[in-house]
Subunit: 336 residues, 2 copies
């Protein structure tokens, strides 16, 4: 099948660009040094490509992601790097033989992990992003509580998510160090072999973690454009059809709010300026000198944020440079 | 089942509030005077509730919505109120006996409708929103082209979507009239019994259309709050669990960008201020004097925009005032 035969809007993955991204990351963070985050793509087939590049431990954000990865045979070492109060859905996953570790930042979550029969935890530490994670100075107490509940404490995690968008590496590097100083304090109180954290945006500036939780690097998005030390390519695009061309000068294509997320701003179209998106539409004007497409022509829309965009679709269509559709990968880890 | 047993995040519909909304609208726009838009909720079960209130004609935005409504036995009179270039998916729907009408704003779409064996069209007219729709003065030519292709032209449609957010009815009313003046010109050139348009925001200010295409009124969202002449209640909320409470003063619940859309701004939480959302998280601070929930407590999050929020979920959970889950309605019209 050629991509021209796909119903639009459709998520496309440029297979060659994906492979280059996977190669680049695997060279810098090989094997278990990388714990790819599946929340970005929610696809066991894409995770299988990451496993083929040597990574057998994965990060997840939901119970369904952990359960789906285990069911797909990718359960060697799964980290639920998020606080979940009801962990009962993981009991059968653990019983099936998958290795499951969960993040813990409070007594409630620690007790939930023990009650669900989960054997291993990481203490989740707040390293500067105002979100989850205990204060570094509380990490030792929490680790002791976990041990008293029969949980094995593998170490610590801390995510410097607020630094992913700091464009200048010369600023981002010392800020990453400051965050990791907080994680270092916690690790000193907790112990364990695992220091997990970081992301695609700090793949070059985080020198402390034992494993990087990068999620965006296979697909990428326009929010990461401008990070000069983050060379991964935008392998993900949305194929859209021009459905209306106005004499007023604007055009409309069929990739709107149900096909992409605006939380990081409007999507981009090469050779055009996006005016706005509505439920089923992206409205844009062509740049000067760029030929205007006709109704029925197909264009590519670049999402500004991969993760919630993927969550809106049923599958990826993997295409080659000639536009042949090589494969369809279900986005099978959606939902909760 | 009680809603406390649901996995979060979960979409809840307050059944009594939904019924009040349906009653209020059906009293003002009874029977075929209303053509409810299913793009807002994408659920054939919710559409069935609308049908039970007397509305047997529906509006849709995608081929899948039209096909799904027909398959659910709700195919008396389905309008695809959006330009779609590849209409071949509707051929079997028409052959199955459903009545399907499609919007047409260009020659290409007219020919696509004829090629797909669709018998009836409305000429889609631009009434001021810079999106789809032909200029009013081109509507007659386009209708003639449609007729020459063997299509029956039922009339015109025009959507004044840019007025839905004009808060003051005293401003919105004359602006609606201006838009409808454009539709009136087009209708004079096209003819036909159907003049379709309007939405929840103009349910009181649009006095011209023969049928109102309202979609948001059953569920509503915070984007409509402040329209004093739009009394529909927010029957849709997102049930979320508090997963982390920071000594820094902020709280985190598990309804993020994959559970709600930010295109109309942050969601709301009663008694709190939302700071931001990330993929799996909403981060907020409590208002002064409001008790701080604990980890594990459940809260309600009010989405700012219903349509793309529903498109992220698999189902609605219909609940009564006591929190009993009365039913689960699949959001079965998602995708394309």
């Amino acid at each position: 099948m050629h991509l021209d035969e796909l119903t639009t809007p459709a998520l496309l993955i440029d297979h060659a660009a994906l492979e280059r991204n996977l190669d680049t990351m695997a060279a810098a963070w090989p094997g278990l040094r990388l714990r790819p985050h599946v929340k970005a793509h929610k696809s066991t087939e894409l995770a299988r490509s990451q496993a083929a590049h040597g990574h057998r431990a994965f990060t997840a954000a939901t119970v369904r992601e952990v359960a789906g990865m285990a069911a797909a045979g990718l359960g060697d070492d799964l980290l639920l790097a998020n606080e979940v109060v009801d962990l009962s859905g993981l009991t059968p996953v653990v019983e099936s033989g998958a290795r499951v570790t969960v993040a813990v930042d409070s007594d409630v979550i620690a007790r939930a992990a023990a009650a669900a029969g989960i054997g291993e935890v990481l203490v989740d530490v707040n390293v500067g992003l105002p979100r989850c994670g205990c204060p570094p100075e509380d990490a030792g107490r929490l680790a002791d509580l976990c041990r008293s509940l029969g949980l094995s404490v593998r170490g610590v995690m801390g995510y410097e998510g607020h630094l992913m968008s700091v464009t200048d590496p010369a600023e981002r590097a010392p800020q990453t160090d400051e965050c990791m100083d907080r994680l270092r304090i916690a690790h000193g109180l907790v112990g364990g072999d695992v220091i997990s954290g970081g992301g695609t945006g700090t793949w070059r500036t985080n020198h402390y973690v034992t494993e990087l939780q990068a999620g965006s690097y296979p697909l990428m998005d326009t929010a990461y454009v401008g990070l000069t030390d983050v060379p991964f390519e935008q392998s993900l695009t949305i194929l859209a059809t021009v459905i209306s061309v106005s004499p007023g000068g604007w055009l409309v294509a069929d990739a709107g709010l149900k096909a992409l997320s605006l939380d990081h701003g409007n999507p981009s179209i090469v050779g055009a300026q996006v005016l706005y998106c509505s439920d089923e539409h992206v409205v844009f004007v062509m740049d000067d000198g760029v030929p205007t497409p006709a109704v029925g022509d197909r264009i590519r829309v670049l999402p500004s944020h991969v993760d919630p965009t993927c969550a809106l679709h049923e599958s990826f269509h993997v295409v080659d440079d000639a536009g042949a559709v090589l494969d369809e990968w279900p986005i099978d880890l959606r939902g909760w």
